[in-house]
């Protein structure tokens, strides 16, 4: 359960595993300037100042240069966090546009944190075991 911190807004957003930065932010009620959403235009670039991420699909060299592969530049529509990450926007800040989605995301994050913190929480039982 990676989280995404936005220090500028004092916000922490919960991302589903395997979810892109862009998708996670939009689903949590945030918005910012994006373009093609398919890794082709580079408009949604931001900086990851802490944590790591990877691209699981091809990204054109014209969009992310060799230097940008290692300097924290994050093409947010394609980047999937590998750990908790902290982001910093470039020209345009992230805005909260849907407080309801924000609230739902906050609850999901707290629930996930509580689950992770609980000692020896029984997880999936072995095959064949009943539930409830």
């Amino acid at each position: 359960m990676p989280t995404l911190s936005i220090p500028a807004l004092d916000e922490v957003v919960y991302l589903e595993p395997g979810e892109t930065v862009l998708s996670g932010l939009y689903k949590a009620g945030f918005s910012y300037t994006v373009g093609c959403r398919r890794g082709g235009c580079g408009i949604c670039k931001l900086d990851v100042i802490e944590g790591s991420f990877s691209y699981e699909r091809p990204v054109a060299d014209t969009v992310i240069s060799t230097d940008e592969r290692t300097d924290g530049t994050c093409l947010s529509c394609r980047a999937i966090p590998e750990s908790n990450i902290t982001i910093q926007m470039r020209e345009y800040e992230v805005r909260l546009v849907n407080p309801l989605l924000r609230q739902i995301n906050e609850k999901a994050r707290l629930r996930a944190e509580a689950l992770a913190a609980a000692p020896d929480t029984p997880t999936t039982p072995d095959a064949g075991a009943g539930d409830d």
Partner: protein, 309 residues
């Protein structure tokens, strides 16, 4: 008559598997050929159901943006004519041979002032439309996805629209059906032009921006209903829609702008009024550009001038 139409758009895609899902599965193009370039790049060739030449769209794996455009001329002699005009214009023209492009004949190639590669050819292997020519049905029964009939036009960007308009006019014999200008004064700057050689409202449009970039290439649809249905299918296939369905003030065409899986902008385009060379050119001033591009929103979205491949 010279150039009849944009015969093919050859574009780059980052992932061929995803691109094929889009151009075949969602757009409904028919694959006619695939190969690997000497550099090892995968290519796939497509045609729409109502096109008769071998292909109209070429995808090449590795990057994004446009590789080149092919322009089909009516007569073999038109190639020489265009070559002479291109040289007069000051362009460097090279000959291309039959087979440089699969199933395309001899022709010429040059780089435009906008830094796009144009090829001009007369011969292409005839494959035939999917409904044939003998007592044809009005569309193929088993179309896939949107089922676009044909490639329609493209919009490219350049730092100098005026020079590109002059080139398309002097070399290709195109005329402008619509134009966007900074003002109506004599000393105006041309910031956009929509050009054609025949009754099609535009075959190539050019707007101000970086050199050598692709804004979009478009597929033809019949009417508003098919534009709406296309947008429905884009939602089903999770295709990111840029804008629409809406209408352009410029050309009066009905449209959806959307992105392929590599981020190249596509369009489905229907309608547009009949163009004639003696029809006075429509002129839009930049203060009304929003209405000209998106007739209902009346303002450009933030992607229109920034998202290019």
């Amino acid at each position: 008559m010279g150039v009849m139409r944009m015969g093919y758009a050859h574009v780059k895609v980052t992932d061929m598997t995803e691109a094929k899902n889009h151009y075949n599965g969602t757009m409904g193009l028919y694959e006619t050929h695939s190969d690997v370039t000497p550099d090892g790049a995968k290519r796939v060739f497509y045609k729409g159901w109502d096109e008769w030449d071998h292909h109209s769209v070429v995808l090449e794996e590795g990057g994004v943006g446009v590789v080149k455009y092919g322009w089909k001329v009516e007569h073999e002699a038109d190639i020489d004519d265009i070559e002479a005009k291109a040289r007069t214009f000051g362009l460097t023209v090279e000959r291309m041979s039959k087979g440089d492009n699969p199933e395309i004949g001899d022709g010429i190639r040059f780089v435009t002032p906008s830094e796009h590669v144009f090829e001009v050819y007369h011969q292409a292997t005839a494959v035939g439309t999917e409904v044939g020519t003998h007592n044809p049905e009005v569309f193929p029964r088993h179309l896939v996805g949107i089922g676009v009939p044909a490639l329609d036009h493209s919009l490219i960007t350049t730092g100098d629209v005026g020079t590109m308009e002059r080139m398309l006019s002097d070399v290709f014999g195109f005329y402008a059906t619509e134009r966007v200008q900074t003002s109506l004064d004599d000393d105006h700057e041309c910031v956009g032009t929509w050009m054609t050689s025949n009754n099609q409202i535009h075959q190539m449009a050019v707007i101000g921006g970086p050199q050598g970039k692709l804004h979009h290439f478009a597929f033809r649809l019949e009417d508003w209903n098919s534009v709406g249905r296309a947008a429905d299918l884009m939602t089903m296939d999770d295709v990111p829609i840029d804008i629409g369905p809406t209408r352009h003030g410029i050309t009066r065409g009905q449209t959806v702008y959307f992105f392929d899986p590599s981020g190249n902008r596509n369009e489905v385009f229907a309608g547009g009024y009949l163009a004639f060379p003696d029809r006075p050119t429509n002129v839009w001033t930049v203060d009304q550009l929003g209405k000209g591009i998106f007739y209902h929103d009346r303002e450009l979205n933030e992607r229109f001038t920034t998202v290019l491949t």
